[in-house]
Subunit: 500 residues, 2 copies
Amino acid sequence: MQDALNRLNLAITEVVDLQRAAALLEWDEQVYMPPGGAAVHGEMVATIRKTAHQKLTADDVGSLLGALEPALPALPPDSDEHRIISVTARDYRKAVRVPAAFVAEQALAVSAAQHAWIEARSRSEFAHFQPHLEQLIDLKRRYIDFFPRGAHPYDTLLDEFEPGITTADVQAIFAILRPRQVALIRAIADRPQVDDQFLRLPYSDSEMWAFGDEVISAFGFDWTRGRQDKSVHPFATGIGPDDVRITTRAVSGQPLSLFFGTAHETGHALYEQGISSAFRRSLLGDGASLGVHESQSRLWENLVARSQPFWQHFFPRLQQRFPSQLGNVTAEQFYRGINKVHRSLIRVESDEATYNLHIMLRVEMEIAMLSGEVATHDLPDLWNTRMQEYLGLMPDSDAGGILQDIHWSIGAMGYFATYTLGNLISVQLWNAFGRVQPDRDTRMAQGDFSTLLEWLRTNVHQFGRKYRPQELVERTTGSRIDPEPYLEYLETKYGRIYGL
Amino acid sequence: MQDALNRLNLAITEVVDLQRAAALLEWDEQVYMPPGGAAVHGEMVATIRKTAHQKLTADDVGSLLGALEPALPALPPDSDEHRIISVTARDYRKAVRVPAAFVAEQALAVSAAQHAWIEARSRSEFAHFQPHLEQLIDLKRRYIDFFPRGAHPYDTLLDEFEPGITTADVQAIFAILRPRQVALIRAIADRPQVDDQFLRLPYSDSEMWAFGDEVISAFGFDWTRGRQDKSVHPFATGIGPDDVRITTRAVSGQPLSLFFGTAHETGHALYEQGISSAFRRSLLGDGASLGVHESQSRLWENLVARSQPFWQHFFPRLQQRFPSQLGNVTAEQFYRGINKVHRSLIRVESDEATYNLHIMLRVEMEIAMLSGEVATHDLPDLWNTRMQEYLGLMPDSDAGGILQDIHWSIGAMGYFATYTLGNLISVQLWNAFGRVQPDRDTRMAQGDFSTLLEWLRTNVHQFGRKYRPQELVERTTGSRIDPEPYLEYLETKYGRIYGL
């Protein structure tokens, strides 16, 4: 058996090397590629991803797995060997179900749809994108047909991003979140608004960048195994645990956006830097899921960097960098200002109180699209009705409504729910850490994040994809993914700020 | 036939995509990689290069070539079709001769040798590197045995970098260059030395960088299809013609080094940007050879950017950037200063008058090593004797002598001659351009390089690897590679500067 496992691991190293290379090329495309390089980058990445797929679905991988799987029952279920075999088998069996011709057909449809979406968004005209969306939905239905039928066809799409989570799970969570989040933001809207005039002043981007560097160094970002650059949209990408890259960007009129981008992406990066080196060239060497990944970014962005104790330590440092803008502002005023609730039509501008409502709207629409409950040309109306219902806002254009997100145009359906799952998990982890570290907030107020990072390393990061999301959350927090702690956190935090 | 050719081209696109991806990863390694990323980069590049090799040597490539080669005699020999088939066949047949196990063995030996070389150089102790060099020479002998025996075993190594050039060709060229270059530098040493005190002052790197950008924009570097960054050693890399990247670096005490690095690498970059887009995803989409590539870098660096007419236009612009350093210097003084002949022990610090002597020394040693005429432990003595003979200098350490270059430690033997061939070809091309463009120097003195670039595009760049080096030089200049024009150029240039 050991020999077969060694051979499997060796075969998989090449799959992983190629996937990592594609990730680095995609990083380069967003960060340093000259504009003329778009075509050659597209070609390189397509060939590398195709080759990785060929190597993962190669006959010898199949026969090695065939030899190894019968040994699984005899292995301890939590052993690395067991998980390497079972995760590799899961990836292999998913990959072999989807014919290469389908992948190529979908890649062509996505390429056309993405161009159409850009055009449709610039013209604010959903009708221009609608036939492409129709085609992508049809492709998703065909994709789902390659897999065993679950309780709901949408399950197959969710499973891509959040293994083991079903449509029913997500719907049950949303049913709890929706009424309380809607009630919360209505209550906030009735209260006197928070003053954040000091955030309307000009701030130097380079000074804010330097502040971000100072903060993430304190978080424990390892600069010998990572770097930060600028890009149009912030993102994090791990080329394995020893080369993890983050980006951020300045947003005009939102001076803290650059810093919160850095803090968010650092959460992703700390996860990647913390994955066990034993999994470095295996299929376990990634985050457990997009939701678990998002729990890390949200934890550092929101539970740490939007908290009172954090600013107790860092606000005087920020004041030193921006004396004219913040010299007469108190830490408490600053904390309230950066946590002001703005109902916004745009997801990426939304705050903690409203974010999940944006997500629910999209996920509900995806489920409706896929089941055929709603025709694609009726989608803008549905969008606008729900937006009014959840946030009390009415989009005045398709561009600021249904066309705002890139996801559908790139064929990503089933993805949005992971943002909300990440929010919920972040608070569950935060509370679990608080239980073992009662002076959590005191340490944070001293700028000391070492025990937090250590705890996350031990309980989350190191495992990579060894455990599935629900399994990992349950091991670490004692509960499965649960909306209640998140709602309590939100209601407490905003209750204090708005005096509810 | 057209169908087989289409299928061959399609198969080769993946080989090219992978090679380009490896080149971009290597660029990243030199420019932006955090230090911890070294291992994962090594793994990614090794897997990609191995996979590209597998795809090039795949059975279907062999059988398509087997079907296409009989059609060659019926195709016009200068047609793209003919050359695509014949160049692909040449690459394929070379690749299949070398067993994968040998490639892996050599990669391991190189990795160990490179570490040993770094250590040996830092200790200045050749004996530490000697056993590794011995092993690499042995590997080169075994490599040569995979190929049909030429007139000299070294021919096989030369052919890697300069297809069609033989050891006899190189030796014949050196026999002409050597005595006249030695005589030239002896004559220069007897003359009053040039004053270059103004180059001993501090210059701002960022201002020099901006000057370089100004100059290469005038050369015609296409910034939409390229970029410039900093790295430890300057280099150029083409990720296809639409994404060509150059680097340069500041050298303490040599203020113009940053600019000449930029000019040199821009010569390489203009070549890559100018290769016909018809060859973009084929094996023809690279430079004809390292020598031809070097002819382009040397042409822009030396024949343009170290010339009097160039500085007639650009010296006033440089003066504006550095008024305190250059305000009282004339263009003529500056021209003489930057062309001052320094005999140096170090190849990369050497000037036009001495450079080829450094190369000859290395190539002669490689030939001697390979033929077994000299034992490896006698190499430092041979190095020092020749250095004394050619340049009148005696290294005081191995680090400043035989251990100065990285090439042998990375398994590159047969490479050095291409630097000299590039010098020779650069002058042949320059003269050929001067014959069709008699006001060449006047235009250059006006900062107009458009006809030069256009001529190089038409006569050199567009062809990529379509023609072999000798064939290309003969088509473009009417002669084969010839040392005479280079010697005339050197003797005229330095004759004027030193009053010989």
